[in-house]
Symmetry: C2
Subunit: 161 residues, 2 copies
């Protein structure tokens, strides 16, 4: 079984935009805030799916995803999810043999921008693009589920050094 | 839009069994205990589905159901739902022009037996079968979702008059 390792970073500046070769809009909401699995509805451009993911973090994290009709997903986001949808546009950028996914958040999570890279091994090296900021892989506040319930805009200001 | 009215009763005795013409086994579990919608996974004999139902009680209660692979549902019931599955065998019985669904609960909800009839209008009359017991339509403890979190076996004993 392939073990996927994802690392997540903040983004500094806009230089990545000229290299973006694809983009997609996401709107997603959650039916629960706790439990053994999160249940999410997501609209990806004009497609929609339900996703169930074990709350346990780890390589064997169970995940299930099913396509559903777009009108159903719109109704769920409008009236059945626990929070306002998390909305973002994802851009894809190639850099030195790796693909970066850059999520530009909207609404209550603007102006947050996050870049993610998927590696095949924990010790796999990659070249840091100039626009890459601080690593936030282990910061749970940046999980999309967390951003639904505690949007970026409401975070307390970071103390300045 | 058709408005469906369901009435639910306890069952006294076993006389209904000889009239049952069909049966199906159900195992179902829930991903959440509160929120704006319940999310349920259910195995019906060899088929499985995900169901999302608005928590609001009423005739316009939104409900969505999607078929999913049986092995997925088995894994979810075993490890991702919040409680042990609610298991029951449903029997169908015809009586004087109406169809009764009789749920015989198993495990932590045995020996509960509940009969349900679907009417097309609040004032539609029906003949009470001899085996019909007390009406429990408005008793939330008998909702399947409630039985998952507070199984029948754990209910406090009713005071005897």
């Amino acid at each position: 079984m392939a073990i996927e390792i994802e690392r997540k970073f903040l983004v500094a500046g806009e230089a990545w935009r000229e290299a973006a070769y694809q983009q997609k809009h996401f709107a997603q909401g959650y039916f629960n805030d706790s439990g053994r699995a999160s249940v999410r509805v997501r609209i990806e451009d004009e497609a929609a799916n339900l996703n169930i993911k074990a709350a346990v973090i780890g390589s064997a994290r169970a995940e299930y995803e099913y396509e559903i009709p777009l009108p159903d997903a719109r109704e769920m986001l409008a009236s059945l999810c626990l929070t306002e949808p998390v909305e973002k546009t994802r851009y894809w950028v190639e850099h030195d043999g790796h693909t970066w996914e850059i999520d530009v958040f909207e609404g209550a999570n603007a102006p947050l921008i996050v870049a993610e890279i998927e590696l095949e091994a924990a010790d796999e090296t990659f070249t840091r693009p100039d626009w890459l900021g601080q690593e936030i892989t282990d910061d749970k506040r940046y999980y999309n589920h967390a951003l639904a319930f505690a949007p970026y805009r409401d975070w307390p200001a970071e103390p300045t050094a």
